[in-house]
């Protein structure tokens, strides 16, 4: 790389601006890509064509058209609503998603900031969106919204625990909480942690689905009962924020799962210097595999009942995750 580029990007403000721009572009791009994949894949799974009109071929511009449509819509705030809270909620949800991008390693040196407590930070910041959802439900002055928000809170608290516990196995194996460190430990070990942490991975993915409130865990927005749950009163670009946050969250959570269990940006047999450039592509490949699985589950399974949901979390996932931790820790010490 020419030295003037290196000099330019070593300037704090330039690099900060560059990173901000990258994140600001990534969220809508990734959100639209996943949203479009969901539209098309769901159509194929139901013997339909899916969007095909916008943009000419395959309807590739459908999500752009949808975005433009959202911006044209009136920004409705209910009269009884708690205005500042109502306005802040979608922003808070999106911030929780954007902040997750900070610790995701896209390559050996391609990471916004390698925190020593990366995993801890990721899980802590991802519960920020829970508060956003609860705020949205509470401030809408609508019973559907309130019930949806409270269901979301109950569900997210229940699944936060298995999510955290499932990660501990990988952390024990790697001996570090930095996501970059965990990926490097997997490279050093020569295998992805999926091999010994299959249970942890399964629990993490189930809990992630619940955290994203996606089908089969979509009790908070259950359309047939709650209209749209905490989203009922939102319209226009505020709704778009929630929408983008959901899809971008699928991306970030999948990227974290890929880094923790699937070796992140690494594939066996690729030398370190190639990883610098191939890393992001490899990570994206793994992320889209996981995202595909999420879409696949969504269009296959029906919704859980509230009690089944809680039973699954407290009676199955939490004990299983605890056993997983105990076994992993024992094996780590013994072997």
């Amino acid at each position: 790389m020419p030295s003037w580029i290196v000099d330019l990007f070593s300037n704090f403000w330039v690099s900060l601006g560059g990173k901000l721009l990258l994140v600001a572009l990534m969220i809508p791009l990734v959100g639209m890509a996943i949203g479009f994949a969901e539209m098309k894949l769901s159509a194929k799974m139901q013997y339909r064509i899916g969007p095909y009109f916008a943009g000419g071929r395959w309807g590739w511009a459908q999500l752009i058209a949808d975005g433009v449509k959202f911006f044209q819509k009136e920004d409705i705030i209910p009269e009884e609503a708690d205005r500042p809270v109502f306005k802040a909620a979608p922003i808070l949800v999106l911030v929780g998603t954007v902040a997750l991008l900070v610790v995701i390693p896209f390559g050996p040196s391609l990471i916004f900031r390698d925190l020593d407590v990366g995993v801890f930070y990721a899980l802590a910041i991802s519960s920020l969106s829970t508060i956003g959802i609860l705020m949205a439900g509470w401030s809408s002055a609508n019973k559907y919204s309130l019930i949806g928000g409270l269901r979301a809170a109950g569900q997210l608290i229940a699944y936060e625990l298995p999510l955290v516990l499932a990660v501990v196995g990988s952390v024990i194996l790697a001996g570090t909480m930095s996501l970059q460190g965990i990926v490097e430990a997997q490279i050093e070990a020569g295998y992805p942690y999926l091999i010994f942490q299959a249970v942890g991975f399964a629990i993490f993915m189930i809990a992630t689905l619940a955290e994203l409130t996606r089908i089969p865990f979509d009790m908070p927005i259950a359309e047939s009962e709650l209209v749209m749950g905490y989203l009922t009163e939102y319209s226009g670009f505020r709704f778009l924020f929630f929408f983008l946050a959901e899809f971008a969250n699928m991306f970030t959570m999948s990227a974290i799962a890929a880094s923790l269990f699937l070796g992140g940006y690494w594939l066996p047999g690729i030398p370190q210097d190639v990883l610098e450039f191939a890393g992001p592509v490899i990570l994206l490949g793994k992320v889209f595999l996981l995202v595909f699985a999420m879409i696949w589950f969504r269009w296959t399974f029906p919704r859980f009942r509230e009690d089944q949901l809680q039973t699954l979390a407290w009676k199955w996932l939490v004990p299983l995750a605890l056993v997983n931790i105990a076994v992993t820790a024992t094996l780590k010490v013994v072997l």
């Binding site: 194929k44 799974m45 139901q46 013997y47 339909r48 064509i49 269009w299």
Partner: protein, 165 residues
């Protein structure tokens, strides 16, 4: 444990379900001609079955302004006005014939719920189902079809299919 005779592995049904959606996806992706259930609508059009309830056509000549359809319409979406016309006797000294003449026969398709009661109730076979379906409008008021437009739909009414055995 409930004894329903054929218990299998727990979770097997979920795996089967995943298989169903995945195979559906590959089928539609690679053999769309064979498996696709929908068509690329404005470019490709589906041919409705002959008995499809698309739009109601009116045969003005057959109508006797008896108002049965308007009175039986659950939505009150049929508007009929008429008057009596005197037809002079054919032979001098004969009787003057009276004939009902339609002035207005409108169906408001914005209200119509396609129940078909008007078609069933018509004693003179003046109303028919046509499978035509492309008559959406930008403004709701234009969904009111007048008697001439309803008469035009007659051209699209298919031959009555033979009775099923």
């Amino acid at each position: 444990m409930s004894d329903n005779g054929n218990r299998t592995l727990p979770g097997l049904g979920m795996v089967k379900g995943l298989g169903v959606t995945l195979s559906a996806m590959f089928k539609t992706l690679f053999l769309p001609g064979k498996y696709l259930a929908t068509v690329n609508y404005p470019k490709v059009k589906e041919v409705p079955v002959p008995r499809a309830r698309g739009v109601i056509a009116l045969d003005q000549e057959a109508c006797t302004v008896c108002m049965l359809c308007a009175r039986n319409c659950p939505d009150w979406c049929i508007y009929i006005e008429g008057h009596k016309e005197e037809i002079p006797p054919e032979k001098p000294g004969g009787r003057v014939k009276v004939r009902a003449k339609l002035d207005r026969f409108d169906i408001d398709y914005a209200l119509c719920m396609y129940c078909g009661i008007c078609v069933e109730v018509c004693p003179f076979d003046a109303l028919f189902w046509s499978p035509e379906y492309e008559y959406s409008e930008v403004h709701m008021g234009e969904m009111m079809h007048d008697m001439d437009r309803l008469q035009d739909w007659m051209a699209t009414v298919p031959e009555q299919p033979a009775l099923e055995k």
